[in-house]
Symmetry: C2
Subunit: 276 residues, 2 copies
């Protein structure tokens, strides 16, 4: 039994798709979340900058005595896939391996599609993860850099023609390749599910990388007997590097309901002091 | 005569549309440019965060003994319109007033459109600037938050149907209002000129805020007898907070030619030490 919180961080709000699943699976757990909204997006930045931001984010989360850190960010998870030193000796997971395992279990024809930010796709991290599990599987990765701006600027409304057109263009190579599983390799993408589903059709299984990371954390904490033993529900606490009001206004979209916890602003000056 | 450099900063690469015009008008001047590519975009962030980034950017530029600072960023110029304290006693201009003056001179029917980031339009800075010059003019401001991501992700190609669709949607209220001048209130937007032009038609005058700021700086330095007296051409030096390679790869698109100077990375740690 371990009553410390579960720590989750992301470049912004996308990681809340992981928190939503954690709340569903593990309602007794306390969650500490950090979303780096003053420096989002990470997916268009260099490897060095992403690593530096991720190290600061993880160090900030660690100060809250968490029992596990989840990098609920496709970009951080991909770029840091072979270098998770910033988590130190705290239990850690990104979203890449959990999503790759789920995709390998779901595919029937061995053809798996992956969509993510430019930085994510450039690393080939999802492909490597899938091949480490099932070496014979084919993996097709496509960068969809406009998906996050579409979500953040109100274009991810079912039936929006702009979003449909962008989705059609990005996803065409995956349709031609005949993938039967598609990994949403960025935690923002579940909000684009309607457009993605309309484009790829009903027979392709969509894997939410944030939700899979939550399921994996649940399995890990259960098997290590590290679940929270308290009676009653856990509390969520959200930290953000830009305006708390702006975070709270948008968060319900990702959480699928009211923002269920305090939202606290942490300044970048404070954040950079937490370097691992 | 003053042989110090002209300092220019922006959230990223958009300010290079101002540098391009400075190079054309004042080929003898040295230019020091800073693009905050590790923290771009500014236009979706809170006022407080934008002011804090702008203060650091300006303080960094000031260390290079510049004779004038140009905030070649629509967001910074709008948000800081009534608080330019971060420039200290150095000569300073943003893009708002120069663009507003040009728009007032160009309009025949007194109906001026302004497009910019969400932060820019929220401030109403362009409207206030126009009305301070010509109180009777009508100003219609529209936020176009997807334009910068479209430019940065390769969608600003003449004839691209996604870009045309987005431009049509954003610009529809300006067409209905019958504006005869449109201020491109974000220094990225000249790269969207084809799509904007196709949408609004040939009779609407487009005002590039970056180019207008360059023209204003030229007028100011000339009238104050602060132009560079050296023989021969000036040098451009570009500083960027993310990868120098990535900056150099994209910069030619904004400069309309080869990157004509050294590109040097400055770390965020170094940048935040330069707080005004």
């Amino acid at each position: 039994m371990n009553n410390n919180a579960i720590g989750v961080f992301d470049s912004g709000l996308g990681g809340l798709t992981c928190v939503r699943e954690l709340n569903r699976l593990l309602p007794a757990e306390d969650i500490v979340y950090f979303g780096d909204t003053a420096r989002i997006p990470y997916g268009t930045r260099s490897r060095k900058t992403v690593m530096s931001y991720a190290a600061q984010d993880a160090a900030f989360i660690k100060r809250h005595n968490v029992k596990i850190i989840i990098a609920a960010c496709g970009t951080v998870s991909s770029v840091a896939a072979e270098d998770e030193s910033f988590a130190g000796d705290t239990l850690f997971t990104g979203v890449v391996l959990p999503a790759a395992r789920a995709a390998c279990a779901a595919t029937k024809n061995g053809k798996i599609g992956v969509i993510g930010t430019s930085a994510t796709v450039r690393t080939g991290a999802y492909e490597k993860a899938v091949r480490s599990i099932c070496p014979g599987f084919e993996v097709i990765g496509v960068a969809c850099p406009l998906f996050v701006p579409l979500v953040e600027n109100g274009f991810a409304v079912p039936g929006d023609p702009v979003t449909a057109l962008v989705a059609d263009r990005y996803l065409a190579p995956l349709k031609s390749a005949g993938v039967d599983v598609l990994i949403l390799g960025c935690t923002h993408y579940p909000l684009m599910e309607d457009a993605i589903r309309s484009c790829v059709g009903g027979d392709v299984a969509l894997i939410s990388s944030g939700a899979e990371a939550a399921k994996y954390a649940c399995t890990l904490l259960t098997s290590l007997k590290m679940l929270n033993g308290s009676e009653g529900g856990g509390t969520n606490t959200y930290y953000t590097s830009d305006s708390a009001r702006m975070f709270a206004e948008s968060a319900s979209l990702y959480l699928g309901g009211e923002v269920n916890g305090k939202v606290i602003k942490v300044s970048l000056e404070e954040l950079t002091r937490f370097q691992a």
